[in-house]
Amino acid sequence: MSEREVMEYDVVVVGAGPAGLACAIRLKQLDSERSVCIIEKASEIGAQILSGAVIEPQPLDDLLPGWRDNMPPHCIPVTEDAFLMLGKTGSKKLPTPPQSNNHGNFIVSLGAMCAWMAPQAEDLGVDIFPGYAAAGIHYRQDGSVGGVIIGDMGIAADGSQKSSYMEGIEIHAPMTIFSEGCRGHLSKQLIKKFDLDKDCDPQTYGIGTKELWQVKPGKSQPGRVQHSIGWPMDSHTYGGSFIYHLENDRIAIGFVTGLDYPDPNFQPWEAFQQFKNHPEIKTLFEGGEILSAGARAIVEGGYQSLPKTEMPGALLIGDGAGTLNVPKIKGVHQAMRGGMLAAEHLGQHADGKGYDKALRDSPIMAELKKVRNIRPGFHKGLWLGLINAGWETITGGYSPWTLKNHADHTALKRLEDYQSPERNWIDRELPPRDRLASVYFSTTAHEEDQPVHLQVADTDICINQCTVEYGNPCTRFCPAHVYEIVEEDGEMEGGKRLQINAANCVHCKTCDIKDPYQIINWVTPEGGSGPNYQNL
């Protein structure tokens, strides 16, 4: 291979989410001479950001004083909190858990907020490159991280170079910050190579699906925040909903399912739609229209699953490291604080050494420690989970024990070992009809003639082993209907094969996490491909 062209920076940041942007902004605030760039695989900043989102504003106050006079679009203060236990047809109001008290917090579109932060970073001199995917890691001869390799453009599905072929360049820097978000594909490689998770529990995840609706006038009560647990989940499936009322008759609705669910027949996307069609919920949306929809995995492991976040030449920050606070259902403030802490640390220790300790001594980690036992308490089911959550909340996390986390893909039971509960799911009335109709609202676009970016190591396992053992759960957990088992035709007639509709992929990473054989590897497609979310 020819020598790739190289650009040099003092710091290269991978991923323009809240963590990466906060880090870059802080780096420039501390030293305007330092050259900083951010690489982002989405075609535009914010286009592949999906979050609830209710955020705690303190990190923004700290990072961008005066931001309240120049608020991001679609940002409004929370005025009202509600917490419900849903049954199939009714609901009960529960006391709002203290972690979910949102007084003083703001409802935002995190995509719009990142798009609003980016020009402020650029004004400080940060070079931001949307549409360029960091496809590989550049290692120095001593084995340390020395930067990233940008993906080639214009490669055909068969691997050949098209007429538009353009070789990706390398970006070299003394320090690389990985803020790829949950289950970043390069972060995953780094965690493995540097054995960063050898002293922590396996990371755990959830899958969040979200829609933004234009509702009939009068249905939205701007500033209202509502969360629920219960229907349509069974007690062994962790999950819950959010509904955030925005201005201009818009409502954001979403549902998060813990990816430690045991039922191989479970369908997270369908659970979301079932919730949306609950008699007390659907009235909000009847007569309205969907503006935007998408899905994204969420990092849930918290304190006991946090890998080491430093390695020679690089740091992990944000959800890519795993600093989200699950009981609060918030990760943005933690991600931003972590990004700023990394920047401040680099101000004093150019090589990043000691960042991991600084993080573990910081309020970020204290916050995670306090709630560390709440999420794993739900392994024993909803009711014991709630009792445990109450205990942990009252005692402020002072229990002398720390509950264990287990890898989500190991939680999936084989068909023969699991009796799926009777779900009694209802006939739905609200759109979208199915997952493909939902992908339409994510405005996902991939150049069709490019290599499949969902690499399945051994498709024989899918057909010969998985079909029997788990019934091909990839066809159910993927929110974008990327995986299908289809009948072979022609010579192979009568057989079956796995068809990967990679162009539908919304880059949520669920398959990479939940596949029971861990043979699916999500890699980045051509830069600029993927969802183009509007205000998610």
Partner: protein
Amino acid sequence: MKILVGIKRVVDYNVRVRVKPDGSGVDLDGAKMSINPFDEIALEEALRLREAGKAAEVIVVSIGPNACQQQLRTGLAMGADRAIQVDTEERLQPLAVARTFLAIAEKEQPGLFIVGKQAIDDDNSQTGQMLAALWNRPQATFASEVQVEGDTATVTREVDAGLETIEIDLPAVITTDLRLNEPRFVKLPDIMKAKRKPLEVIPLSDLGVANDNTLEIEHFAPPATREKGIMVDSAEALVTELKNRGLL
């Protein structure tokens, strides 16, 4: 020879556009914006002509508020030598756009003015033709192949009957069709170089262009939604259904 290329900032072709609930326009809130794809083809063709030694300078020009500097910078990163933003907050209709381009053409004296055959937001397909008429120069619209030799250009046009090849004297206006070329990817270091290339901002009022928009838009409405279809089991059932509806 100089080549001027008109580029318009439009909603990206991947974005699902929707009409605002009050019918006052298309909702572009949070929507990705891009160079009109046909204009991108126009720029690619200009760059190829320059690379083939047929032109010395490629200038991209856009009309609009500061936001369209983003598209001009992309044009510079693709390889244009310099950029002109005609600054206005108003939304110009094709005639006013053509008049503005004429003013720029008179100032820059290009050998070719290349624009997309239409913009994907309003789909007017008028600007290039109007510009040629106002400029009193030849035009070759819907080009799928362009060859320049000396003072003439040979252009293959996509017409209803197939392909038509014409020869025109330069200076001239060319509008580009989809098959003309495939625009290049932007190289990352070129984005940095583009930041240092000249981008001139000219207020629309300085050009003395009359912006007398002749069309008034009353309201926007989405197409009527299609009614739910039915599935029929056989050809007979289909015929029966069609007959029942008086369609056969």
